[in-house]
Every structure is written in C-alpha cells, then in structure tokens.
C-alpha cells in the first residue's frame, strides 16, 4: 500500500510525506520546501520510521522523530516532528493499494 499526505504547515512550509507499508512501514519519503540543517537529518528520520507498526500512535511517532532530531542536533525551519508524525499517520490512513 502507498499513501501520500500533504500539508502546508501553519506558519511554516509545505510538507509532503509518502509512505509505503504492509502492516509495517517499509519506506517513508519526506519532501517539501522546508529547511533543515544538517540536511541528512531528514534521511535519518525516514530510516528511523522503517519497520514501525502502522498502528503506532501520534505521540510515539513524534517522540521517535524528536529523538532523531535531538541526536543529530538539527535545526528545522518550516516543519517539526509533530507535523511529520501527523502526515505519516494521515498518509497511512488515506492509503490505496499499489
């Protein structure tokens, strides 16, 4: 299954999350016109979500993403952990079969 969720984050930037999953998350791709330094934090967040159960709740997913951001010491402008978590869940919820 693949789902896509897009949001113009309030006071921020456009965020689009694509999720491939089959019971568990196989692949997440985070795109948009936001800023993040160092840039590889986004790839680290994507990797950190692989293998996660699709039923993972918003809070747990947000904490996981926040932990990656904190470990990387990244500065994100225009999006945040809550927006990414929200859109991963929305993408899964609105997914269609590939």
């Amino acid at each position: 299954m693949r789902g896509i969720s897009t949001e113009k984050v309030q006071g921020g930037k456009l965020l689009r999350v694509k999720v491939d999953f089959d019971g568990k998350i196989d692949r997440v791709q985070i795109t948009g016109d936001f800023f993040a330094h160092p840039e590889d934090v986004i790839e680290k967040i994507e990797s950190s979500l692989n293998g996660l159960d699709v039923g993972t709740d918003d809070h747990e997913m947000r904490v996981k993403i926040e932990s990656v951001i904190s470990k990387t010491g990244a500065d994100m402008v225009g999006i945040d952990a809550a927006a990414i978590a929200r859109n991963v869940i929305n993408a899964v919820g609105g997914a269609k079969s590939l």
């Binding site: 795109t31 948009g32 016109d33 402008v77 225009g78």
Partner: protein
C-alpha cells in the same frame, strides 16, 4: 574599498577574512551556478579565501528545486525540455524557482559561520537587509518577511535560501526583475486546468517585480545590488580563481548534471 584579497594559499587572519570578495554579475548555466556556489563554499571553508558575494544570472533559463523537493512532483520535465530550460537541485532547502535568464538577478553569500549571526532567522534577516537596502537604492520600499521572503507593496519580490556546512554559511536568493507567470506555470507542476486567467491574476496579486516600480534596466538593478550588498563593508572586486573554476566544473559534471542528484527525491 580596500585592497585585501590575496589567494596565495596562506591562511588569512580574521581581520583579513572580514574583507569581502565581491564577484560582479555574470551568466552561467544552472549546473555551473550551483557548482560555483559549492566550490566557493569549499574555498571559504579552507580558510584561504575571504567571505564572498557573487551576483549571477541563469543562461539558459532554468528551474531550481529545493534540496528536499521531489523533482517529478515540482517540475514538468517535458515542458522544460521543449523550452530548453535546465533543471537543477540546489544544496539549499526552499521551493522550486523559475529563473528566467532576463527576469531576475541571483546573489550568493558565502561566509564563515563565525562572522554571521548564529540563528538561522537572524542570519536571514541580516542578508535580506542587504536586499532591502539594494531596493531602497532604487527608491523601492521593501521589508523582510520571515522565514525567507522580502516583500514590496505587500507582495513577494525576493525569495532566499540558506544552508550551513563545514562551518560555512551559504545563502542565495533572487531578486525579481521581470516575471513571466505563464511560462513559470507551464514549467512548475500546477494542474493545467488551474492555469487560468484567474490563477495567474492571483499569483500576480502575491508576487511583484522591480519593473512594477519603475523603468529600471538590469544594469540599474545590478548596480543597486552591488551598492546594497557592499554598504559598510571592506571589500574588493574579485573573480573566481582557476582552482575554484576547475572544482566547479568537476562538481557540475559529477553532481549537478546527474540524475542521481537531481532525481534523488
């Protein structure tokens, strides 16, 4: 203006490094423009080169996409091919931009992080202040609108993007001189049915250009930017070194022209 820049290979003192190198307006293709910005970042990071301001245009016209954007989501590749418009992924975040070869001037600022404000918002504000100063030189009142825009007459006239790597800050951005909304919308992926007069009118209500404020030439704008960016700075008009040009050619071929880079998302 003072004489200061000596790319001799010797590390410069902090005082020397605060003497800026300013590279006047030139045209390059999209791949070289992005490669030059990166080559200058490497040169400044080495400690052998001073902070650098460069002005440039894009020839042929091009679309640049933000580091985190998906090329296929943002650009109609077939239309770009038909129009002879290059497409390149930037090292900086932000959105997709249509760079008309005669419709805008782009600048880049490359400086050690140590001489710039630490906060992203504060450093945007500083460099964007040089753009509002440039516009003021043309008699155009504008202001910085966080996160990364400059507005004039309540409409966007300049977009800017920044990244920091290896202790060096890169900020580049564009100042809109002219704007071909219809071409922009055929290139950027907006559903075709939305490219109606209403849509174009709507964008023109949100975006403006220098020509809306008077009959300025590109040279007038270039001169105003040179004055606005160098105000209160010690600087020297300079050029790229052979080392930077060769490195840029390498980066253009091995990164910025490659599908691996441009289609990575």
């Amino acid at each position: 203006m003072t004489s200061s820049f000596n790319p001799s290979g010797k590390s410069q003192s902090r005082d020397d490094l605060m003497n800026w190198r300013v590279i006047p307006l030139s045209s390059n293709n999209a791949f070289m423009n992005m490669a030059i910005d990166e080559a200058v970042c490497e040169a400044v990071a080495s400690g052998k080169f001073p902070p650098t301001i460069r002005f440039y245009t894009w020839l042929p016209s091009a679309v640049s996409i933000g580091y985190f954007q998906s090329l296929n989501d943002e650009v109609d590749v077939n239309v770009a091919k038909e129009l002879g418009v290059d497409i390149v992924r930037r090292r900086t975040g932000g959105g997709a931009v249509y760079h008309d070869s005669k419709g805008e001037i782009t600048y880049s600022v490359v400086a050690p992080e140590s001489v710039m404000p630490k906060g992203i918002r504060e450093s945007y504000q500083l460099v964007c202040g040089w753009i509002t100063g440039s516009l003021k030189n043309l008699g155009i009142v504008s202001e910085f609108r966080p996160i990364n825009d400059i507005i004039a007459g309540d409409k966007k006239i300049s977009g800017n993007a920044q990244t920091r790597r290896n202790g060096v800050l890169l900020q580049h951005g564009t100042l809109l001189y002219d704007l071909d909304v219809r071409t922009m919308f055929t290139l950027l992926k907006v559903p075709k049915e939305k490219i109606s007069d209403k849509m174009i009118q709507s964008v023109e209500e949100r975006v403006t250009k220098v020509l809306n404020f008077g009959s300025f030439s590109m040279q007038d704008v270039s001169d105003a930017m040179m004055k606005g960016f160098t105000r209160d700075k010690e600087y020297e008009i300079g050029s790229l070194t052979d080392e930077e040009i060769n490195r840029a050619k390498e980066l253009a071929e091995n990164r910025y022209k490659t599908d691996e880079w441009n289609y990575r998302r």
